[in-house]
Every structure is written in C-alpha cells, then in structure tokens.
Symmetry: D2
Subunit: 117 residues, 4 copies
C-alpha cells in the first residue's frame, strides 16, 4: 500500500463499492450503523476477559480482534469518504484539541474527563 | 503529518498517553469500550435522519460527525498499537478477503451477506 | 412468567448465573460491554435496510431481531441487578423527565433534542 | 406502574410518541440506532473503571448508569412494540435456549461460548 494509508484505503474502497454497485447502500447513516456494529463485535472479544488478559491475548482472540479492527477501519474510511471528511486531518485536529483539554499537569495519572479536571 | 498517517498517529498517541501516565488505563479491553462508545455517539448524529438527509448533512451535524470520526480513529489507532496490530496491513488483508467473499458477479447490487450469496 | 416480567427475569438470571458460577464474570463493566455488543448485533440486522424495509421485516430478519432484543433485555436486567437499579422505576422516572423536556407543544413533529427546542 | 412492567411501558411510550407525532421517526432501523447509541453512552460510564470499581460505583456514576439503563429500556420496549415482538416471551425463550446451550456441568466457571464448550 502506498505511503498514505488512509487515502489509498479510501480509493480502494471507493472502487470496491462502485464495482459492486454498492453506493446505493453506503449512505452515511448506514455506514455509521455498520461501523458501530463492528465496534460491537470487537467488544465481544474482550467482554469476559480481565484487563490483564486483554493485554496478553491468546492467538485466536488476537486474530479475531485484528479482523474486527480491520472492519472498523474499512467502514470508518468509507464513511469519511461519504462525508467528505479527511480523517487524518480530523484526527490531528482532535489530538490538538485534546492537548489543550488535557494539559499534562492536570491530566497526569487520572482518567477524569476534561470537564472535571 | 508525515505521509504514513497511521504510523504517525500511533506515535503521537503513544507519546500523548505516556506523558499523561495513561498507559495504565489503556488496556485493550478499555480501549475497545472507548472506541465502541465513540461509535455510539456517531450513531446519535444520524439516528433520526433519513438516509437522504445523512447524505447532505447541515454544517453543524457534519462538524459533529467529523469530531466523532476523529475520536473513533484515535481509539482505533491506540488499540491497534496496544495489540501490536498493523492496521493498514490488517485492512488490506480484510479487503482482499472481501474481494473473494464478494465476487462482483455475485455481489453486484445486493447487500446480502457473503454466506447468503 | 409471573406478572412482573422484570423482577421474574432478574430472579431467573440471578439463579442462572449462580448455578454456573458466573457472578465472577458479571461485573457491571463486563455486563455493559455484553449489552453493547448485543446492541451492535441488532444494528447488523437493519444496517442495509431502508426505514420502510425495517418496518416490514421478512420472517428471517424478524426472528434475528427478536433474538437480539431478547439478548439485550437479558443483559440489561442482569446489569440492573448487578447495580441494584430497579429498571421499571428508572424507566418511569426517565419517562417523566422526558415529558418535561419534550412538551407536546414544542416537540410535536420534530426530532430536535430538548436542548435545541 | 401496573404489575406488568413491560406492557405498561409499551403503552406509555406508544402514547408519548403519538402525542408528539414521532411515529414517523420511530422506524425499527432508527430505534435500533437509538438503542445502540444509549448502550454506547453506558460504556462511557465504565470504560476507565476497573471491574472492582464498577462493582462499587460512586453515587454520581451510579446515577449516570441508572439514567442510561432507563434510556436503553425505553428504546428496547419501543423497538419491541414497533416490531410486534413480545419482549418478555422472547427473553423467556432465549433463557430456555441458553439453558440448553450452557448446561451447568459444562459451563460452570467458564466464560467460553457454547460453540466452544
């Protein structure tokens, strides 16, 4: 895959959908549902594991998690494309906003929300 | 951001968490919950809209969706890092698997699952 | 099932878990994940259907949806029990709050959130 | 609320929606999205807590969880009504199926799925 992963994925998914005449199903509403559905399948991998177990997954669980992560990324990229959102830029912007919301001095070692720091 | 969006994001998030001593909270189990929670917030943007409305979002809804997409990507990249999964490769592998599961001739114009094609 | 569905379900699920020594897995955190995972499976039933199609499900899809609704209810009741929350009372309280947030005169025919009415 | 919680809730929600002319928004597809969105908000209450912490929630977190549980139940009941599914019967049927899938002798003390018992 070319250097720019996300743009390459976007183009590949765009072609994949066009070849199958799937644009008709790929409304942002439907893609958001598909993304959330895959996120739900990801939860199923971890729901009965302790946090410690989740940090050391057996091979079968890791393969299942990897597969779900891929599904989430594919729908995320497809949805970003459908909405005309540049995901890399959006993520960079959010990270910058989070750096302001969660200054190191205040956020260090706590999981409190920025509204409660 | 350097060409390789996902690796650059991974490194930025790794530093962001380390500076705040957040690795202790970032178990794969917890990150999967956070990712799914953001996917749920994404649903809230679209739940009462028609598909047609979702294809032409007003500026405020588009901004909200962009923000949630960014949150999903940030947690997805962080989770991939926590699990040692290369997201770009995983997505490429899944896309290749989908191309076999959904041959154009059979999948064209239908949303049936590959198990029912 | 006795008149009071929710209490009867709560007691049945409590016994089901105790007999299998599953209380150890049924932390509120884990049950919330399981509930959200089932809600994700519910999305999969509807994600590619139009709203009109979702109002007239084929038998197979209706059976799948019914099964997922049951799973969501079972985990919801189990989680309510784990937290000591009376679901019927909580729902009644929320409905009363919604009646105030969404007065008929203002909310009629719109899906706007109460904060935007 | 009368003995039969779920039927009473169903009727109250039916009237609530009719008075506000909300049936137009309450397609099963949309209600499934709303339910999953509330399940996502429930995750947010627990995502950074340990399992032990989730078993002993501070008052503010418990109130937040109770509120989300109520939202999930309201949408679940509304969706069951929209689909013509009797939730209590569906849950009872699922519990009976689970008793066969998870015999005490095999399922005791393990969180393995029935397909792997």
């Amino acid at each position: 895959m070319p250097p720019d992963d996300l743009e390459a994925l976007r183009d590949a998914l765009r072609a994949f959908a066009r070849e199958r005449d799937w644009e008709q199903f790929h409304s942002p509403k439907n893609l958001a549902m598909a993304l959330a559905g895959e996120a739900g399948e990801l939860l199923a991998v971890f729901q009965w594991l302790t946090e410690a177990e989740s940090r050391a997954l057996p091979a079968a669980d890791l393969a299942a998690a990897r597969d779900e992560l891929a599904d989430v990324l594919l729908y995320l990229v497809r949805l970003g494309d459908a909405l005309g959102v540049d995901l890399a830029t959006a993520a960079r912007d959010k990270l910058a906003a989070n750096a302001i919301r969660y200054p190191v001095a205040k956020a260090r070692g706590t999981h409190r929300k920025y509204t409660e720091l």
